[in-house]
Subunit: 128 residues, 2 copies
DNA sequence: CTCCATCGTTTACATGTGTAATCGACTACG
DNA sequence: CGTAGTCGATTACACATGTAAACGATGGAG
């Protein structure tokens, strides 16, 4: 059987920028990805290509040939990525408990009144 | 004048393990730090010393001579570290908004009933 | 006084990451 | 048909990180 125990390789921050482009719309060519990210990040097309290759190696994006070029699409969902990264942080900083993270954000005034309202709404949903 | 615009260098994961020891109790010698972390992480004393040096370079820990050896203490508070790291994540993954993070944790069922209760309590406090 | 244990410091080395230039294949233009 | 542009692939290179061995000073045991 094909090794099912492979844990997904980490996606670096630069790589994430590329993933974000693909999560917004896919499949895209390397060119198109570059159009999304090269400007803001000040990258060259080559950089994007390198990142795409690495993401392919990491099994995070899939390629589909389209004539002489490739179309790239995400192979992992953004929610999954966000999930692992969030959990990593919560584990590393708060012993795996989410409440302390929330407490911290609250104390640090990182919560806008809007945030608080939204969270209240979510809580209400959770309890219903 | 001493450069006040220095933004604190990032503390890596391995380095954080060392910081945790110092945050729990300080000052400590390299030996003592090792006693806290070498077992769990399978590190050698040398590794701890390297990490301590790097942390000193990064201005994250202070040294105080004690005979022939040094005593190390954290120069940055844990809350500050936790703050920057949390914000980084929220920025990277949730566009800087904390509510989506919370929503994600909720959806991912990363919130225990205890968490929810705690958060409700915190909310109540925030609103009072 | 000499030698060993122990410090902190210096050096090492593999891997990951950021950022790209170069290369070989191919295709479209002239 | 040759050649310039474009692709992905290969190679490059500096810096960060994880992990540690080697080195030089030094203080305490004998």
């Amino acid at each position: 059987m094909s090794d099912a125990s492979e844990q997904p390789e980490r996606i670096s921050e630069a790589e994430q920028a590329v993933m974000e482009a693909l999560w917004q719309r896919s499949p895209l060519t390397a060119q198109e990805v570059c159009e999304q990210v090269c400007g803001p990040r000040g990258w060259s097309l080559n950089t994007v290509k390198t990142l795409l290759s690495r993401l392919v190696t990491k099994q995070a994006v899939a390629t589909e040939p389209d004539g002489k070029r490739f179309l790239y699409s995400p192979k992992i969902a953004r929610a999954q990525y966000v999930g692992t990264e969030s959990r990593r942080l919560v584990d590393r900083l708060f012993g795996g408990r989410a409440a302390p993270l929330f407490a911290h954000l609250a104390q640090a005034e990182a919560l806008t009144p809007d945030d608080i309202a939204e969270i209240e709404a979510l809580l209400k949903e959770l309890k219903s």
